[in-house]
Amino acid sequence: MEASKSVLVIGGGIAGMQASLDLASRGLKVYLAEKTPSIGGRMAQLDKTFPTMDCSICILAPKMIECFRHPNITLLTYSEVQEVSGSAGNFTVKILKKPRFINEEKCTGCGVCAQHCPVEVPNEFDMGIGVRKAIYVPFPQAVPLKYTVDEENCLKCRLCQRMCQAEAVDLNQKPEVVHLNVGAVVVATGFELFDVQRRSEYGYGKYQNVLISLEFERLLSASGPTGGHLLRLSDGRIPKRIAFIQCVGSRSLKGGVSFCSSACCMYATKEAILIREHEPECEVYIFYNELKVFGKGFQDFVTRAQNDWGVKYVRALPGEVLEDSKTGDLTLWYEDTRENVTKSIKADIVVLCPALVPRAANKEVGVILGLELDEHGFFKPKDSLFAPVDTNVLGVFICGYCQSPKDIPESVAQASAAAARAAEVIALSPSKEVH
């Protein structure tokens, strides 16, 4: 394979997948590196997507499988990029494949091992609300559907090994280093969540019924820990009133990040509608400061939520959330800035919408690739107007949330943009034979 005819994509979320599929379908070789055991990224965790209310995994899974099946795509899951050297047209890459303690060739994903594994730990995919075994796939539709032993929690009881008739379990597996030569690199590391405990006035971590939106999304999801039944974690009761608080940590000069995450107003609206679908009796309040309705169909979506679904929007960021330690019920204090009155309201569940922030790991990635980061930790585009996916390093491109806040379609479009630029650079750079 010619180095210049292949591309390394870092990050297996929707942006990374889209870039990979675009590049692969046009005949370039793609190495898709993802540090978790499965591709799919954040979108896989979502129940539905705004404003169409599509079932997220339903529209995502076919793409994931396509990535898996595509002859031009090599998935390097549970892997991390360690070194990159060289220049556009010919980068040399060193990737560490962490041991799954599973022989991927042999594992059929049948799951007998997990059934017998005695160790139960909180499931990251369900934001710790659900549980998984020490040998696991993050979620049923995971791609590749290969099991992984998580070293910290494994007891080395070898029960899985005994149960696996495919003899796929290999607890002596060692980390593996993969060396690649590629012509271009596409970075799509996505985002992580602001630690809302830094805004202690909202009591996250202190009060059981204060959740963050992604936890709540799992709670709503049919494939989530409660099988899509909307329940209060403190007492399993069906909530009668739920309040969303926007901008927790975003748009903040202090105790957060100064930018707007761009997606929260809409996903909160989506989750609000889902609540009304699940429990028509349950009231929903969204506490916001400014509704960001700039996207295609957003305003209509909000209008629908208000008029057809009776979602209540209150222009106010609550000052604090208090808990009644006996009942677990919550009280929010806020000034309704439209009525100029300060008052309180009770809620069974409070959902915090945390700022979506660039991954802390971007720093390392930046060092490895020589990329410049801005003050927030986003990768800097070469020219935010005319070269939005180019970086200070020729041949290395960025797309998705790690470039700047955006929603799924914007990420998808930009992923294609990065793919186009990668292909362009490859087309222009002299090809080098590598063996």
Binding site: C55, C58, I59, P140, A222
Partner: protein, 258 residues
Amino acid sequence: MTFEPRIVGFLCNWCSYAGADLAGVSRISYPTNIRIIRLMCSGRVDPVFVLETLANGADGVMVMGCHPGDCHYVEGNLQTERKIKMLKKLIARTGLEPERVRLEWVSASEGGRFAELVKEFTNQIKALGPSPLVGEKPDPNILEDLLAAKATAGDFRLRVLVGKEKGMIDDGNVYGEEVSQEEFDKTMDEAIDAEYVRNKIYLMVRKEPLSVKELSKRLDLDPQAVLRHMVVMRRRGMVTVDRIEGTTPLYAALEVGR
């Protein structure tokens, strides 16, 4: 022994079949009665398939597709919805219970829902009892009704109506006139009635030549209506005069052209 319904499910590949997969993956158990046929899209489900299946003794039929808006093929499922609506109306005119057919939306993440629906439907069918068409000796009248229905569903007129329904209601008819759902349903009902009766008549006169009078007795329909159908059916080349007994013509079915 207890009655174990035989249920056939037509599932779309992208959502419902995946949902059924997830039910398995999550080890959610449900009655074994359902037999699943995978199609690319629920839009592929031809009402004729369903009637054929029922005629052959299925106790129930489930059609499942993506939730509206989720369809992998934009809006195949909306077409299905219209087809099944028509189909149920049609079955209602036969001796069979329309409840034996059920359309449901199941997404790829709704393994639980899939199991729930199958359980629920199985029980419903159990309550309903075995189909009169099960076994070696199916009820001849109902069978004939169903064959008529099948022929009707395969017939140009209903298919074209169903096919154009969405278009007409969304963008108006060829003359650009708005067509309301009500108006349309009215037309549709009339069409179903007429075509169903005609197919029944056809099946009857196929066994033995019959007179309008006799037909109107068997169908308990006023002779004039029957005669009107006869006229249409002659024009369509479905029937012809077999012989005249005294003053009454007896009609017979024409195989030609069918």
